[in-house]
Homo-oligomer: 438 residues x 2
Amino acid sequence: MSIQIRKFDSTHPDFKQQLADVLAFEASEDEAIDRAVLRILEDVKKRGDVAVLEYTKQFDHVSADSLQALEIKSDDLQAALAQLSPVRRAALQTAADRVRVYHERQKAEIGSHGFSYTETDGTILGQKVTPLDRVGIYVPGGKAAYPSSVLMNAIPAKVAGVQEVIMVVPTPNGVQNELVLAAAAMSGVDRVFTIGGAQAVAALAYGTATIPQVDKIVGPGNAYVAAAKRRVFGTVGIDMIAGPSEILVICDGTTDPDWIAMDLFSQAEHDELAQSILICPDAAYLEAVAASINRQLDAMPRKEVIATSLTNRGAMIKVRDMDEACEIANLIAAEHLEISTENPQQWADKIRHAGAMFLGRFSSESLGDYCAGPNHVLPTSRTARFSSPLGVYDFQKRSSMLQVSEGGAHTLGQVAAELAYGEGLQAHARSAEYRFKK
Amino acid sequence: MSIQIRKFDSTHPDFKQQLADVLAFEASEDEAIDRAVLRILEDVKKRGDVAVLEYTKQFDHVSADSLQALEIKSDDLQAALAQLSPVRRAALQTAADRVRVYHERQKAEIGSHGFSYTETDGTILGQKVTPLDRVGIYVPGGKAAYPSSVLMNAIPAKVAGVQEVIMVVPTPNGVQNELVLAAAAMSGVDRVFTIGGAQAVAALAYGTATIPQVDKIVGPGNAYVAAAKRRVFGTVGIDMIAGPSEILVICDGTTDPDWIAMDLFSQAEHDELAQSILICPDAAYLEAVAASINRQLDAMPRKEVIATSLTNRGAMIKVRDMDEACEIANLIAAEHLEISTENPQQWADKIRHAGAMFLGRFSSESLGDYCAGPNHVLPTSRTARFSSPLGVYDFQKRSSMLQVSEGGAHTLGQVAAELAYGEGLQAHARSAEYRFKK
């Protein structure tokens, strides 16, 4: 099997447009899916448990007399954990522990205790930080069921202090994923229901007799789940709707080409729409990686997916120098950015936009996917320009605190009244004036 | 003019349902508006400046030869500031200064420098925090044009370190709001264009020849603007789509009833859909406030709006005690919560969900609207359960940083490979293994 990856040169007059074209990705919004989802949401809102049971029978071919019967009890989660091989259990435990340590560090660094300060007249201003009460985690069934995803979504919520984490995971034809259940047990998930699709999103968003309403829903899902999350946003919080996964590798030409080829594969194997891009100032090195790709491809079990992804969405970009590589990386704002160079920090300092940066040749992206500690839920499709990795901050919210003294009410009241009259809001002005004129 | 506000008693068997009914608010999503907006967005995306000019002529009755002609230059912004009366200018400056001080304090408290820690094998993990590059602020034209809103949106962005803040504000029939322009000058807005509606949102989201693409759009707008923001979300970030404004007052019955009545008015005067609710354990006090409302209403210039809002959406709730008042406040999760009591901190400690809390009888909500310092852009419609006031954090984003040492690649690589094989992702496993097996 031999493939041809797109090659660009930054000195080409059309380079900017070529780059824009290869990055372009339109999330397909299917009207039929959206309408079907809307119907399911409204039905579950109205009929609750009964509707969820009907859709579960229809879509997952799982029948039950009650939604209670679809809850997996704590003992069964623990049993799934106990059944893991010792090696796999140890690996999962290491990953969970490291993810927890990283997010505890994050919690300590982001001002989780809030703040307040007192002004000379005794007025106190500040902000209070509280965790969300209850969070829902969607975990896909079938081929995309990743235990690492359970850890990455559940642990930050528990570290933030969320009292109740409710996981939903469909079990098409009744087939359970034991690794996923083990991960749920390990990461402190409180309750698990074997439901999925738009009906599970609806149950979490509106609540039913059996499933309590949550405050936020996180986790990946198919087009129906994504459409349902978009629709319930506002009733509950949601995380970002993720696009295809991406890796951008900036290399100075000193890393073993086989390593870089495999890093590009590791993104491409996710799915046909995944995007792998390599930037380097050394044309010969780009050729060496291209050769390595064709040499290594046949040994990959998921070679068809990799070949499609690299051919349709991959690219290699020859740049003038590493500074230009960093400029282009800021334009691309990749989900994963590997800086596979000597002295990587100097280049990382120039990067403003990336979901996660992997510095130096030993930092393969896959370490971040599983166990290094930082979250693997990252902004895709250039949204790293304005959004962040999933974190403890996604499971906290802030309330402003104002305690105005009698003196403060006098000085601030005059200012507020002046501006309120300027905006034509007399009750605002009078409300302020009562505190110092009466 | 005499009105009747709904009265509830928490001991009534149907109280929970009564409360749910009064809180229920369905944001109307108008299909016709959404379709019109979609057409405008696609047109501006394709035809850029020309399309924006055409829509501006059509909707605002403003003709110009070029979009450049619709930019208000810095000198004109400064002139608007210079023309303010000294009293109004001083009030606006006090407000701007206090908002800046509060948000600088916030920036210092939320870990804006990021963090990193080094493990025993030399692996470095952490997070980098960067401001957004460029932000768009939407400011409505006409009656809802509030200079305070310019301060509250622009100042946190500048404090966060956003390099370029671009404001759009429609000028229907060419009428400019000088207070809004003065507020833009004062809060450090970099560029101002007199365009509005879905066409302005599109120009900011996609960029045109004249207007650079931004990374996030914030600020309030009408139904077309809200629909446009929803549609461009993902291409750029957006703030929350705000619902009607709300105030919840918890009172122990010791505050002058006239003050509380005016506080309820100050929310109700915003618009007919605004919601004002008073909770108190003292039935006689509720009657006193109801009497004050009817006594004071006729003097209010906006009495029609206030009467409609209080009649249709207002409520007074008699509770058993202050603890129950706090429980109900957590259910309501109000945008603004006044705790008008003796020793308010004891009750504030029990509140988990509120956009902003105003403690003590001197903390009228209007002080927070204009000049106390905390942001007046707050979560509405119970979204305080999962979201926060607009803040510096909305104009920053985080990137995970991983620099794995050779030793770390060995220990972490084994864990990652084990889990990757478990998930059937062989390229992930091989990519990790290359770093310690070769």
